[in-house]
C-alpha cells in the first residue's frame, strides 16, 4: 500500500468526538471514492504529498491569542446552538470541492477545531483577527451575509492543516489577509471562496517558506458580476519549500478577477506557483488576468510556475503573463553608482519588487513579514 492509501484508510477509520453533530459521511464517501493524491500526480507534480502524510497533522500544543472579532459572531462548532448549526450545515462545502481538494475531506473527518465566523449587515465593516487556534487540524467557515462587509486577518498561525471557507452573499465584501511566518513544519492549507452576485473578495497571502508548505487558494466567481482579487507575495529563505496553487473559476457572467504573484526564492529554496483561470461554459463577458513574477537569488534556487487558462466561453478577456529571472543588473549598477552599497541596493530592489504584491489591508504586517521597508 502506498503512504497515500495507508493514510486514507487510517483517516477513514478515525472516529473524532469533536462536534459529533457534523455530518462527516459525505467526506468519508468522497475519500473512499477519490482517494488521496499520490506523488508526481499533476496537482502535486513538484511537491511530495507523502511528506505530509508521514508528518501526521497534529493538534499544536500551545493555543495562542484567542480570536478577536468586532461586528461579527464567532462560534466554536463544539458549542454551536441550533441557529449556528443551521448556518454551518447550509454553507459548509458550498465553496470547497471534495473532489478537487481531497485533503479537505481529511480535514472534515479529522477536524479538532471548527470556527464559524458570521458577519451580519452593519453600518461599519466587521473586523476579525484569527491567531493561532491550537487545533492543528482546523476548519474556519466565514459566512458574509448579503451586503455585509468584513476584514479578516489570519496572523501568525501555523497549524499543520487549516481549511478556510468563505461564502459571500449578494453584494457582500470581504478583505482576507493571511500571514504565514517561517516554520519548520509540513503544512497543507486550503482557502476556498464562493462569491455571490456583485460581491467582492480580496485575498492577500504573504508567506515565508516552511519545510513543506502547500497553499491551495480556490475562488469561485459564482454570482453574476462578482469580483475577485488574489495577491500572493512570498520570500523563501534557504532550504524552504512553498507550493502555491491559485485557481479562479468564473461560473457566472460579467465576473472580474485579478491574480498577482511576486516571489523571491533564495538559496536551495523551492517555489511552486500554479495560477489557473477557468471560464465555465456560459460565463460570458468574464474578464480575468494573471501575472506572476519571480526572482531567483541563488544558483541553487528553483522555481516551477504554471499559469493555466481553461476557457469554455467565447466572449471573454483572459490574459496571463509570467516571468522568471534574477535582479536587474542595470538597476543594481545604477544604485551602486549612486553610492548605495551592494547589499542595500539588492534589498531595495527586492523590496520594490515584492511591494507590488502588498495590499492596503494589514500592509505594515505584510511588509514586516516579507522583510521589506515602506
Amino acid at each position: 500500500m502506498t503512504p497515500a492509501e495507508t493514510f486514507a484508510e487510517r483517516t477513514h477509520a478515525q472516529r473524532v468526538d469533536y462536534a459529533p453533530w457534523l455530518d462527516r459521511e459525505a467526506s468519508r464517501r468522497a475519500l473512499a471514492e477519490h482517494g488521496l493524491p499520490e506523488p508526481r500526480c499533476e496537482a502535486w507534480r513538484y511537491s511530495n504529498p507523502n511528506r505530509w502524510y508521514q508528518a501526521e497533522p497534529r493538534p499544536s500544543p500551545s493555543a495562542g491569542a484567542s480570536p478577536r472579532a468586532v461586528g461579527a459572531r464567532l462560534v466554536d462548532f463544539a458549542t454551536a446552538d441550533d441557529d449556528a448549526r443551521t448556518l454551518v450545515r447550509d454553507h459548509l462545502h458550498t465553496a470547497a470541492d471534495r473532489a478537487k481538494h481531497p485533503l479537505a475531506t481529511v480535514n472534515d473527518i479529522a477536524m479538532r477545531l471548527g470556527l464559524l465566523v458570521h458577519v451580519p449587515v452593519s453600518d461599519t465593516p466587521a473586523e476579525v483577527e484569527l491567531g493561532e487556534l491550537g487545533g492543528g487540524i482546523e476548519r474556519v467557515l466565514v459566512v458574509v451575509d448579503p451586503n455585509a462587509s468584513a476584514t479578516l486577518v489570519e496572523r501568525p498561525a501555523t497549524p499543520t492543516h487549516r481549511v478556510v471557507e468563505c461564502v459571500l452573499g449578494e453584494g457582500a465584501q470581504l478583505d482576507h489577509v493571511r500571514l504565514q511566518p517561517p516554520a519548520e513544519s509540513v503544512e497543507y492549507h486550503l482557502v476556498a471562496a464562493r462569491l455571490g452576485a456583485a460581491s467582492r473578495y480580496r485575498l492577500a497571502q504573504y508567506s515565508q517558506g516552511a519545510s513543506l508548505r502547500r497553499n491551495d487558494l480556490h475562488v469561485r466567481v459564482a454570482g453574476r458580476g462578482g469580483e475577485a482579487e488574489v495577491r500572493c507575495g512570498y520570500r523563501l529563505a534557504a532550504g524552504t519549500h512553498l507550493d502555491t496553487q491559485v485557481g479562479v473559476e468564473h461560473e457566472a457572467t460579467d465576473g472580474v478577477s485579478r491574480q498577482t504573484a511576486r516571489g523571491v526564492v533564495g538559496d536551495r529554496a523551492r517555489a511552486v506557483l500554479n495560477g489557473r483561470i477557468h471560464v465555465a461554459p456560459g460565463a460570458q463577458r468574464s474578464d480575468a488576468a494573471l501575472t506572476t513574477k519571480s526572482l531567483l537569488l541563488a544558483a541553487t534556487a528553483q522555481l516551477n510556475a504554471k499559469p493555466e487558462l481553461t476557457i469554455y466561453a467565447d466572449d471573454v478577456r483572459c490574459a496571463h503573463g509570467a516571468t522568471v529571472g534574477e535582479l536587474d543588473a542595470d538597476a543594481l549598477f545604477y544604485l551602486r553608482s549612486r553610492g548605495v552599497v551592494e547589499e542595500a541596493a539588492r534589498e531595495l530592489l527586492i523590496g520594490g519588487f515584492l511591494a507590488e504584491a502588498v495590499a492596503d489591508v494589514a500592509g505594515d504586517d505584510a511588509r514586516a513579514l516579507l522583510g521589506i521597508g515602506r
Partner: protein, 484 residues
C-alpha cells in the same frame, strides 16, 4: 432558398477534399500485435538483426508502459489488437517510372509532384524533392540524383538502413529513446517506413525536402519514423504533409521524428497537417499521436519547428528542442485550428542545457464549433543554462460559444541568470473588426478568414513561401461553416 443562402449552403456542404480512397492491391498484415508481428515487419524490410532486436526491446518496454491520460482530450480506449500494423501496395516499384499509375494519380489529385519533369517544367516554382509514404511504405523519392551530387542523402529509412547502416545506427533513437513515451515505444517496435536525411558538413541542401504521408488502407495504423541529421555547418529545410481518406472508423497515426543538428548546423522543419478530422458529429478521423524532437547537439546550432495543424480528430503532439550546444537556438511556431468535434493538445518543450541558449515559442490556437484546443508547453532551464533566454507567446481565438481554448505552460527554472517570459491571451474575433469589414462590403465568412489569417501571420511568415499560401487556403477551407 435565395441565391446567397444557396451559396452559403454549398460552401457548408463542401467536404474534406483529400478524403477519397485509392483502389489498389495491397498486402496487409492481419490485425493484432505480438512479437511475431514485430519480427514479421522487420523481416519484410529485410532488416539487420540489430534492428530486429532494437524493435523487440521497444515492444517489450511498450507492453509494460501505461497509456498516457494527462492530455486535455477524451476518446474511447484504442484497441491495439484491432489495428493492422503493416500495409503496403503489392507492386513495389524499383524506380520512379515503375510507380503504379494509380498511385501517381493519387498524388496528382493531392497536388504532390511525383514527376521530376513536371516539377522541372514549372520554371517559377522552386524545386522540391519528395519522399512519398503510402500506408506503411515509401513508394518513391524524387530528385535523388541531384541531391546525391550535393552529397545529401534523402531516401526512405528502410533504404537508409540498407545503404547507410552506420549513420542510422549512430543516430536512431538518440533523440527519442525507445522508451520515451507510450506511443514512441509503439512506433519504435512497429515503424514501417519514413524518411531519412543526412546533410554532410558545410553543405546547404540545394532544394526543399519534403515527405508526404498518406494513409489509404482501412483499419491500419501508420507508424512512420523520420530521422534528419545535419552535420557541422549544414542547412536543410524540410516539409511534411499528410492526408487520409474519410472513414467512419478512427485510425491511429503514431509517428516519431528525430532531428540532430551538429555544430553550426540548422534544420528548419515545417508541417502542414491535414489528416482527415472526422465528420461534424466527430465520427472517424485520425488520432495523431506524434513524438517530434530535435537535439541541438553542437554549439551555435539551430532547430526551428513550424506547424500548421488543421486536421486530425485528436492531435497529441509536442515538437521539442533539446538545447545542448552552447549558444544553440530553438524555435517553435504553431497554428492549430480545431473545428466541429476536433480536439487538440499540442505545444512544445524547450529544454535548455547549454549556456546562452535561446528559444522562442509562438503559438496560435483557433477553436470553432464544439472543438477543444489546448496549448501545452514546457520550458526548462537547467542549472548549467547560464544566460539562457526564452520568450513564449500563446494566443487563442474563439469562434462560437461551444468551443474551448486552454493553455498549460510549465515553467521550470533552475538557473537564476536564465530569463523566462511567458504571455498568453484569449479572445474572440472582435465585433469591431467584423463591423469594419461589413462596412466595406466583405461578407462575414471572408472577414473571419481574413482576420484569422492576420492572427496567424507571425507563424505563416516562417513557412516556406509556397506553403504559406497553401496554409492560408487550408485555414479558409477548415473554417467553413464556423460563422453564422
Amino acid at each position: 432558398m435565395s441565391e446567397q443562402n444557396q451559396a452559403v449552403h454549398d460552401r457548408l456542404a463542401r467536404e474534406y477534399s483529400a478524403g477519397f480512397v485509392t483502389e489498389i492491391e495491397s498486402e496487409t498484415l492481419p490485425p493484432g500485435l505480438d512479437e511475431d508481428v514485430v519480427r514479421a515487419i522487420s523481416a519484410k524490410k529485410d532488416e539487420p538483426s540489430w534492428m530486429t532486436d532494437w524493435r523487440l526491446d521497444a515492444f517489450r518496454r511498450w507492453r509494460t508502459m501505461p497509456e498516457p491520460n494527462w492530455a486535455h482530450v477524451s476518446f474511447d480506449p484504442i484497441d491495439f489488437e484491432a489495428i493492422s500494423y503493416f500495409s503496403a501496395p503489392r507492386n513495389k516499384p524499383k524506380s520512379l517510372d515503375e510507380v503504379d499509375p494509380e498511385l501517381l494519380r493519387t498524388y496528382d489529385k493531392l497536388g504532390i509532384p511525383l514527376h521530376e519533369r513536371e516539377a522541372l517544367a514549372g520554371v517559377e516554382k522552386p524545386q522540391i524533392a519528395v519522399d512519398a509514404v503510402f500506408d506503411s511504405v515509401s513508394i518513391a523519392t524524387t530528385f535523388k540524383e541531384r541531391l546525391r551530387d550535393a552529397g545529401v542523402i534523402f531516401c526512405s529509412i528502410a533504404e537508409a538502413m540498407r545503404d547507410h547502416p552506420e549513420l542510422v545506427r549512430k543516430y536512431l533513437g538518440t533523440v527519442v529513446p525507445v522508451s520515451d513515451n507510450f506511443y514512441a515505444a509503439l512506433n519504435s517496435a512497429v515503424f514501417s517506413d519514413g524518411s531519412f536525411v543526412y546533410v554532410p558538413k558545410h553543405t546547404r541542401c540545394p532544394m526543399e525536402l519534403s515527405t508526404y504521408f498518406r494513409i489509404n488502407a482501412e483499419n491500419t495504423g501508420q507508424f512512420e519514423r523520420t530521422l534528419i541529421v545535419a552535420d557541422e555547418g549544414s542547412y536543410v529545410s524540410y516539409l511534411e504533409g499528410c492526408t487520409a481518406p474519410m472513414r467512419d472508423e478512427t485510425q491511429l497515426h503514431a509517428a516519431v521524428v528525430e532531428l540532430v543538428a551538429l555544430e553550426d548546423a540548422e534544420i528548419k522543419y515545417s508541417t502542414v497537417q491535414n489528416w482527415y478530422p472526422g465528420d461534424e458529429q466527430g465520427r472517424g478521423g485520425i488520432y495523431n499521436f506524434v513524438t517530434k524532437r530535435g537535439a541541438c547537439v553542437g554549439a551555435r546550432s539551430k532547430i526551428s519547428w513550424t506547424q500548421v495543424e488543421t486536421g486530425s480528430a485528436i492531435t497529441w503532439k509536442y515538437p521539442s528542442v533539446v538545447l545542448r550546444g552552447d549558444d544553440s537556438i530553438g524555435e517553435f511556431y504553431s497554428v492549430a485550428l480545431t473545428h466541429n468535434a476536433q480536439q487538440a493538445d499540442t505545444g512544445t518543450k524547450m529544454l535548455h542545457i547549454g549556456r546562452n541558449t535561446k528559444s522562442t515559442i509562438v503559438s496560435k490556437g483557433i477553436s470553432a464549433g464544439r472543438s477543444q484546443n489546448a496549448y501545452r508547453g514546457r520550458v526548462r532551464m537547467n542549472p548549467g543554462a547560464t544566460g539562457a533566454r526564452n520568450h513564449t507567446r500563446c494566443d487563442s481565438l474563439l469562434i462560437g460559444d461551444a468551443c474551448g481554448a486552454h493553455t498549460f505552460p510549465y515553467i521550470e527554472s533552475r538557473n537564476p541568470s536564465a530569463v523566462v517570459e511567458h504571455e498568453a491571451t484569449t479572445s474572440k474575433v472582435s465585433d469591431d473588426q467584423l463591423f469594419l469589414c461589413a462596412q466595406r462590403g466583405i461578407d462575414p465568412e471572408k472577414a473571419v478568414s481574413m482576420i484569422v489569417n492576420g492572427f496567424c501571420r507571425e507563424v505563416f511568415r516562417e513557412l516556406p513561401m509556397e506553403f504559406a499560401v497553401e496554409a492560408g487556403k487550408l485555414l479558409e477551407v477548415s473554417l467553413e461553416g464556423a460563422v453564422g
